[in-house]
């Protein structure tokens, strides 16, 4: 299996995962700092003596790499066949450019700098409609112009297709996952993650193309595609026509918002970042505990402990939290028992809760 260290290096520079982590709970300052400063929440949890749980299985990592490798071997034969079958590419499509790093299964590209250079060259060449463009590109590497995510903001796009329209090229972005495609039963969280990432790619690619200020720039389509697996096999299932319009907006807004939030949070740090104990800073920053935290954050048990100590409704779940609002669980119980309400909020809650008990005649 590839060395985890090598993967970590690339993961460190890959912004996508950190952005998606932030989006899961943007109101949480600890989450924001972790994403921006690239400090793992598991490390923060460990520093507080909470045992981390959210690792990735080596089998899953290997499967992902194997699946990708399988798709792209022999001039992307497998994925090309699947794309042609659903008419995502025409039957006579040709040309494959593999920009994946050798550490990620690529054949020739050895460093991110080389990948960046070749990615840039490809996009620039696409202004010339006579350019013999590859129809499939793996591992296109982009640097997000804004660079909000320290230390660097880079994105690796799993796959794009390039097709010639009349007078310009059109790029469609895709996302590859080993998730099993089960139609309507496809895991909602997995598919949302895949789409969100495709939206980020689309937005970042559009930003990159715009920033290059090219004449006859290629079009970055708002329609994308997802590549999942037929359950229990390595056969790709491709869903084309994924509308990325709102997902790209989401990415744009998300980066802007992260920009703003990060700037605000970082501005409160008086010291130079190099002198700050980042884990400690994150450990003591404001949090916003929600049920969703359990799906990704190793600090969730700590935040739950705090919520329990503060007797907050979120301990009973999102719905209870919405209903109880700022009223504590103990106070809600008192109100249920008929205690005098101390505010309009309490009065309204009391009426609702008691009404729910005596709802039937």
């Amino acid at each position: 299996m590839p060395g985890l260290d090598e993967l970590s290096e690339e993961a460190r520079r890959n912004t996508r995962g950190r952005f998606e982590q932030w989006v899961k709970n943007p109101q949480c300052e600890a989450n924001t700092l972790s994403a921006v400063l690239n400090v793992k929440l598991s490390d923060v949890a460990k520093s507080l003596n909470y045992e981390p749980e959210y690792g990735q299985s080596p089998f899953a990592i290997q499967r992902g790499l194997q699946f990708e490798g399988w798709l792209f071997k022999e001039d992307a034969e497998v994925i090309r066949g699947a794309m042609e079958k659903i008419e995502l590419l025409p039957a006579d499509s040709a040309g494959f450019l593999d920009l994946r790093l050798t550490s990620n299964g690529g054949k020739t590209v050895r460093s991110t700098d080389e990948a960046l250079e070749k990615s840039h060259a490809l996009i620039t060449n696409l202004v010339n409609v006579e350019f013999d463009a590859p129809t499939i590109v793996a591992g296109l590497l982009l640097k997000i112009p804004k660079g909000v995510m320290l230390p660097e903001a880079t994105l690796i796009i799993d796959i794009i297709t390039i097709q010639k329209l009349d007078t310009k090229f059109e790029i469609q972005v895709g996302e590859i996952k080993v998730f099993p495609d089960r139609g309507g039963h496809t895991d909602a969280g997995e598919i949302a993650t895949a789409r969100a990432q495709a939206g980020v790619y689309q937005h970042a690619l559009q930003l990159t193309v715009d920033a290059l200020n090219l004449g006859n720039a290629p079009m970055v389509s708002t329609s994308g595609f997802l590549v999942f697996t037929w359950p229990g096999s390595n056969s790709p299932v491709i869903r084309k026509g994924e509308d990325l319009t709102y997902l790209a907006k989401r990415a744009e807004k998300g980066f802007d918002q992260l920009d703003r939030v990060a700037a605000e949070v970082l501005s409160r740090q008086e010291k130079n970042l190099a002198d700050v104990d980042l884990k400690d800073w994150i450990a003591h920053s404001r949090t916003e505990y929600k049920e969703v935290c359990w799906s990704f954050c190793d600090l969730a048990p700590r935040c739950q402990d705090l919520a329990i100590a503060e007797d907050r409704g979120i301990v009973l779940g999102t719905e209870a939290s919405k209903i109880l609002g700022s009223v504590t669980i103990s106070r809600a119980l008192e109100l249920l028992d008929g205690a005098d309400s101390a505010s309009e909020v309490e009065k309204s809650l009391q009426e609702q809760l008691i009404g729910a008990i005596w709802g039937a005649d």
Binding site: M1, E53, G55, Q56, S57, P58, F59, A60, I61, Q62, R63, G64, Q66, W70, V78, G81, K85, I86, V178, P180, R182, G183, G184, H185, W230, P231, G232, S233, N234, S235, V237, E291, W294, P301, Q304, I308, I314, V315, L316, G317, T318, E319, A320, I323, L324, I329, A332, L333, L336, Q352, L353, G355, A356, I357, G359, A360, D361
Partner: protein, 511 residues
């Protein structure tokens, strides 16, 4: 989640433990059910290990494949498990006494327990893995039959009121309200721990959270994967390449997976016992749900299997794992699911006060004052009618033509003929009685529907079982295929894109 449930959550906090959700139990607990749990290798969807057996067996059977990516080994364990499950279900072709429409006995319901939702998903994965057959293939091979059963069970699991495939963690969540968020309760060990943890609530929460660290889903702890299993699997791959014996390393893998499988098994057994020890009675409507479940098993699974076993008939249609590409199949399935959603409430509500309250708050039931009673028609076709003043509440769904029963009269049926909106939240509703027409109803008075003594009475209307109607709707959909408008409604829809299941041979061979 309704306000009522939140109130119950607060009550659970007060009690420092889960509290009953309904007045009765809504599932039949088979005396000695079949239980199964899976583990799978991360990134794969087929099982790596299976633990299965009957609740009252001395010990369950544990099967593992050396490498979760080894198709042959995985198929072998699936086949052994599949045969056992088919035999337990008295499936056609796997039993000398298969369940038929003539021998349905609710006391002999074949019931399968799994720890949680992710294990039900595994049934879907099994369907995908072994469902595909080409022309000329033997469709009665155990794995193929397993795929059909697994697929049927998976789809059945979504039908309200079904009694055959039990998700243990959901069964606990349906029967109790916990002083906790619902997300954590998806882990069966967490849910079970709430019943076993000692101490006051704060201490209990910590103990429950500790217990919840034991995973119950089919995926394994990544630390276990990286520290123990991955090195063993690598060792096995090396031995395989060298042509050496795999027995020892596969035993080690088995030994590493066994405690995980047993943890899932034990959690299920604990859940079963918690429900078995509950003092609430089984709802009197459950028997009807069991009968329905078994009828569906016969008509939808057994019937199809008989067809596959008949060498003289063309192979019956097998649903695609993803969806119903055939429009009529989709519509018929949809109507039946819709009807089941109402039917389960209709079956249970007469014997469960808490369910009545819930139905009122969700708009499935309503109170009404009877303002007029009269007959329409004449002679033998006389039909009782009632005019009702209805406090509409949250009844968004009442429409003309909908059916309701009178509480405590589960066989009764009225139909909404017209609705007149009188003012804010009050409707004037005309209902016509289908049944009974001449027998006494139970209620605030015991009298026939035609008795004027009903005027002024305040009664509760609850959903009625309209599954017979849904069956008619489903049939209507099929029979309409020859209609002149069928070019639109039943026209050829895009077929499934035939996914060539091609596989990475190198990878397969290396495992």
């Amino acid at each position: 989640m309704s306000l009522r449930e939140i109130v119950l959550q607060l009550k659970a906090v007060e009690a420092s433990q889960p509290v009953p959700r309904y007045s009765s139990l809504h599932i039949r607990q088979a005396e000695n059910p079949f239980m199964v749990a899976f583990v799978r290798m991360a990134g794969e969807s087929r099982p790596w290990g299976i633990v299965y057996g009957r609740l009252r067996d001395k010990a369950p059977r544990i099967l593992t494949a050396g490498d979760g990516r080894n198709r042959e080994a995985v198929s072998q364990i699936c086949e052994e498990f599949g045969v056992a499950m088919l035999q337990y279900c008295r499936a056609e072709g796997h039993s000398f006494n298969p369940i038929t429409k003539d021998n349905i006995d609710p006391e002999e319901l074949p019931q399968i327990w799994v720890p949680g939702e992710r294990h039900i998903e595994m049934l879907h994965y099994l369907e995908y893995a072994f469902w595909r057959v080409r022309k000329g293939d033997d469709r009665t091979k155990p794995l193929t039959v397993l795929a059909r059963l697994a697929g049927w069970l998976f789809r059945e699991s979504g039908r309200s009121g079904q009694q055959q495939i039990i998700d243990a963690s959901r069964a606990l969540r349906d029967a109790y309200v916990f002083p906790s968020d619902s997300l954590s309760l998806g882990n069966l060990t967490t849910a079970v721990a709430w019943f076993n943890a000692a101490g006051e609530l704060p201490e209990k929460r910590i103990n429950v959270r500790e217990a919840g660290k034991q995973r119950v889903s089919p995926t394994l702890d990544p630390t276990l994967d990286s520290k123990i299993l991955a090195p063993l699997v690598e060792e096995r791959a090396k031995l395989l390449k060298e042509g050496k014996s795999l027995d020892l390393v596969e035993k080690k893998i088995h030994d590493a997976l066994e405690p995980e499988l047993m943890a899932r098994w034990n959690a299920m057994v604990d859940a079963y016992r918690i429900l078995a020890n509950d003092t609430r009675m089984e709802n009197s409507g459950v028997k009807k749900l069991v009968e329905k479940t078994m009828s569906k098993f016969v008509s939808e699974f057994q019937y199809v299997e008989r067809g596959h076993l008949d060498p003289d008939s063309a192979p019956p249609f097998t649903p695609h794992p993803e969806t119903d590409f055939h429009g009529s199949a989709a519509a018929a399935g949809y109507f039946r699911m819709q009807a089941a959603d109402v039917a389960w409430i209709a079956s249970l509500i007469h014997d469960d006060e808490e369910l009545q309250y819930e139905a009122l708050s969700t708009g499935h039931a309503f109170f009404a004052e009877i303002t007029k009673v009269w007959n329409s028609g004449d002679g033998r076709s006389t039909v009782p009618n009632w005019q009702l003043l209805v406090d509409v509440g949250d009844v968004q769904r009442m429409r003309d033509g909908e059916s309701y029963a009178l509480l405590q009269n589960d066989k009764s049926s009225t139909r909404v003929k017209s609705i007149e909106v009188l003012g804010n939240d009050v409707w004037n509703v005309h209902v016509e009685w289908f049944s009974p027409k001449t027998k006494d109803l139970y209620g605030p008075i015991n009298a026939r529907p035609t008795d004027p003594a009903w005027v002024g009475q305040r009664v509760l209307f609850v959903p009625t079982d309209t599954s017979a109607l849904a069956d008619k709707q489903a049939q209507a959909v099929w029979s309409a295929k020859d209609g002149i408008g069928a070019w639109l409604t039943h026209g050829r829809a895009p077929a499934a894109v035939d996914t060539n299941i091609i596989d990475d041979i190198t990878q397969l061979e290396s495992n």
